[in-house]
Amino acid sequence: MSKSLTLKLAVNGASHELTVEPRVTLLDALREHLGFTGSKKGCDQGQCGACTVHVDGERVLACLTLAAQVEGRAVTTIEGLTPEGADLHPVQAAFLAQDAFQCGYCTPGQIMSAVACIKEGHAGSDAEIREYMSGNLCRCGAYPHIVAAVREAKEVMS
């Protein structure tokens, strides 16, 4: 297992080369090797959703994805949700306005899920938002505010 791979990852629109063991997850590659610490490690077993990123525009759990699996695919993390220097993404702005977080640790994953949830067309009602945001746990208990934020952002985005 000590054999290393040299990978070229496209993260947030830029190409990054890194040499890692094949068993390195996308989450650890982002956090430990590339400095994208916005994606969080909450459970490292695909249960909490804190590590949610987009791969080719779809939400995936970075802790259950090997870094080597995403070569040649576009990875977007919370740091790359909007171009550098741009205003907040409507979902980010809505999370702030609705106070849809407290400790902030699940928040990047919630926001990445929310952006995808809206894009998937799964934000049609509060019940649907609740269902399609249930892969992201929040122990501080911001759920009703997350629903309000997704609802608000969806209106802004449509």
Binding site: M1, S2, E21, R23, V24, D28, R31, E32, G35, F36, T37, G38, S39, K40, K41, G42, C43, D44, Q45, Q47, C48, A50, T77, I78, E79, L81, L88, Q92, F95, L96, A97, D99, F101, Q102, C103, G104, Y105, C106, T107, P108, I111, D126, I129, R130, E131, M133, S134, N136, L137, C138, R139, C140, G141, A142, Y143, P144, H145, I146, V147
Partner: protein, 768 residues
Amino acid sequence: MTTDILPAKVKRGDASDGGASLGSRLSRIDGPAKITGAARYALEHHLEGLCHAVIVQSTIGAGRIGVIDTTAADAAPGVLMVLTPDRIMPLKSATTWLDTPGPEGPYLALTNVINFMGQHIAAVVAETFEQATAAAALVKVYYEETDAIATYDDPRSGEGMALDHLAVSWGEAEAALAEAPVRIEATYRTPREYNVPIEPHGLVAQWSGDKLTVWEPSQWINGMSRTYAEWFGVPYENVRLVSPFIGGGFGSKAFALAHGAIAACAAKMLDRPVKLALTRPQTFTAFGGRPATRQTLKLGATEEGKLLSIVQTGANETSVDGVWGEPLASVTALMYATPHLAARQTVVPVNTVLPSALRAPGENPSAFGIECAIDELSYEVGIDPVAIRLRNYAEEDPHAKKPWSTRQLREAYEAGAKAFGWEKRKPEPRSMRDGHHLIGWGVAAGTYPVRRTAGEAMVGLFADGRAEVASSGIDMGQGTYTILAQTAADAIGLPVDQVEVKLGDSALPGAPVAGGSQLANLMTGAVHKAALAARDELIGLAISDPNSPFRALQANTLSVADGVISSPRGGEEVTIAELMRRLGRDKIEVLRDTLPETNNSAAEKHKTYTTITRMRSPTEGDYSLHAWCVHFIEVRVDEDFGTVRVSRVVSALDSGRLYNPKLAESQWKGGIIMGIGQALLEEGLVDRRKGRVINNNLGDYLIATNADIPDIEVISVGVPDFHASVLGGKAVGELGIVGVAPAIANAVYHATGKRIRDLPITLEKLID
């Protein structure tokens, strides 16, 4: 003594000051960092030469290690060191949070004696996380196993030890109970519950000579620094603990724990910075959550539902090597007027990690008992559940026999019942339904004490006109950054966006534990005091400095608003920045603490910030200080499947004055949501053979998800309480959860006619 008697003209940070910020619904000022991924949590601190430690935990529940074979692990790629009980450096025993001596030393963070399954027994340090994880799986352990007592339901665990300091009694409770015309008796149980903050515990530790820096999520910077310093025998000042963001704690991040000692040992032994993150399963045994509790309540009452006597006996699990008492009488002995009461409890040692604090330790399970029992009594005597609570309303603290400072509990019942529509409730169980759904409406009250410790804060005014607040107090989502900026802005007379707040670093002025829902009240008090002093110093310079345009004026006529200093007599108005420039000052910096002026030595401050010995009880002084709440909850129970859904929550809460209603409401709702999970989902499942926590992950230990939670309406019924705190607030963070589980259990009874007294309320208990 933290609540200084304030002269009449002193600002209190309320509307009478003309201050616009405190009390407003400002969005959290640390929010932008959190929603963009810029906020750096402890384990995101990268250092040159960083190596990674992974812990190995015991796989037996009791016994000792015979042999640990590390041959394969030692030889695995990238491994730098395998720590075992025989290899780890012995540390000194650290004093406790009560300022009492710790166990006889030395302290070994890894031991050969196994007291519970999931105890740390080895740690592998390697160049990478993957290498350390792989090598940890190669550590072979041969045990000498003995029988484990898994839970207090094992008859061998016995009755336990009495905790006399938690016993409460007044009157002749047993005799009064025997004579009471109406008597009910029931036993209520809560399982082991876990904190599970989404950020797992861990740290980065780095030594430089005899100086230790620790990046670790912390609810108590100063207390944990003290422990690290004592463990390693270095001066307190040599430890720097940094924790600007904390990914949730809920009571679990207040103490330096064994894994912290292991990482700091490894860093010292290797002379390299070490990162150690507990895996999610390891977090279930690296520290304790709320212990399992059971309590038997006997209520005696008149036919009209007036309480005559309460007799309570309770027990909670503890570990075989320590005592954690979960105070089961804390609400029982406070909520209702009863002429007679007797409560006592024991702790029962079993093979578990020592239980610890989880949101409202004591009040939470205590309220589950008494708030279900009073509900049972309401049906027994045929009185509405709200009415019976008002009938037994305590006009003063029935235990301390002192007046309440404020108790807006009647107002809470009234406001909550109105908003919920309680008057439409049909009293009979199983009398409300919607198709297959049995509908139940339940109510329960909650309370949490106002705890008070002193703190200190630095407030600086800078040449650019901006202000800075600095404290080692922390923000794990309660909103500390935001409310302290609001407090300083109003006291100085600045727009809030001109105030920067620095928190969570032992290099900053000290603060006691962010626990017991005390931090907001004590820190707003300290910041208010320091900010007023900074403003006074500024005005003092303005009237005395020869370069000031105000040099001929009197101090008490100047005003500062929106960062501009002016005189009511007219004339020149200058900004703080302009005045600082004319004065030739870079900064004005003021440090203030809220210790009593007669007893504020450096040693006293150290004790205040690093132990809980200076925390004042809610009944010290002339009043009894508590926050209050009432929850009205609707459940829908599927008649065929027994599934319970919470469909509506209206809670009315009295936390005194809210420094920022937007953030306080979020905390209340967070507590209510944790309470919904507690009522319906959360339960540590323990293997009865060896005491393993079977569901030690977030897929099996169920916490509430978004889909479990309806809209929640919270109503503030509080009024400023200046007996409770300098600026009038009471407890917020731990209040919201108290009373939620009994309100749900009461609603489930109303829906189904089944009384579930054993949390969580799962479908098999309803359909058997």
